[in-house]
Amino acid sequence: MKRPTRWNVLITTAAVVMIGLVLGGSFGGWGDRQSAIVPFASPAEAASGSPELFAPVAEVLRHPRCMNCHPRGDRPRQTDQRHLHLQNVVRGIDGMGFVNARCNACHRDENNSFTGVPGAPNWHLAPLSMGWEGLDDAALCTTLKDEKANGGKSIAALVEHMEKDALVLWGWAPGGDLKPVSTPHPEFMTKLKAWAGAGAPCPQSK
């Protein structure tokens, strides 16, 4: 067999790299490469405490079903388009609306199949300290874990909240035309617990 020349090796290596890049879909920029890495929260990653474990959690927290009621102002948002809540609804002193426009004036304990208005027990806005809009992953993670901001919830309590709270679970069964959270709840819990089990590491701000 003819021995390969240095030039042959160089061309072959370049071709392999190019094929790898194409098959890997890595021409979409840095952001795409990040998102391609994130979903694979292996036990090894969990054990390493990789800050990337938070990325799939953040993806869920940013879904309209969650984010609409975690505003950083006084007005909640609505629908998949996330427009400001109609009727000029505001949070009020307890996060459940102002006089005459209390959340439960319309949002009851279950989705209203007749009118399409969504509902779940204890419908309310998250406290202002848990406003998430506009936060990058690092700030979102830090805020989520801050017991002064999150109502005194430990990491274990946060996991339980996202596993069992009826209003949180509504995000996966919103009814009507509303899109459920895109990551299935069991899959989300696996990723959330992987993050929590690794010590709830937060990524660095970019």
Partner: protein
Amino acid sequence: MPISFTVNGAKRTVDVDPETPLLWVLRDDLKLTGTKFGCGAALCGACNVHLDGEAVRSCQIQLQDAAGRDVTTIEGVTGNVAKAVQDAWIKLDVVQCGYCQTGQVMAAIGLLTQIAKPSDDDIDKAMDGNLCRCNTYHRIRLAIHEAAKTLPG
């Protein structure tokens, strides 16, 4: 299955689909037509009633939500706040066509019951969900302030 609740102080029982909007039950079954249908989507406030003393949109409240609870409609409002609102509404001749006014009055009573001396900002927040195509907003605001003058607090 029959569902019982109190309407304007009287126990009422109806046997309709428990998911029927309370507005339908009030108007069609109990013949209390003072409460108006405006939009059916919680956008206009014309259907406001009080459920255990708090204003709610009866077009969004299912009958089963009212089971065992107290519903007050425009036909049944009583007390010093309701009287103050009624007097102010008449004094300032607030109403034009009147279609939205049931909801406006129920909302005004709800506001003044909880905030006896509301600021303009309080009125904006509490009344924002009540639409009036005759544009009587200016007189509604004045009437709420007028009613507040006669209330302790």
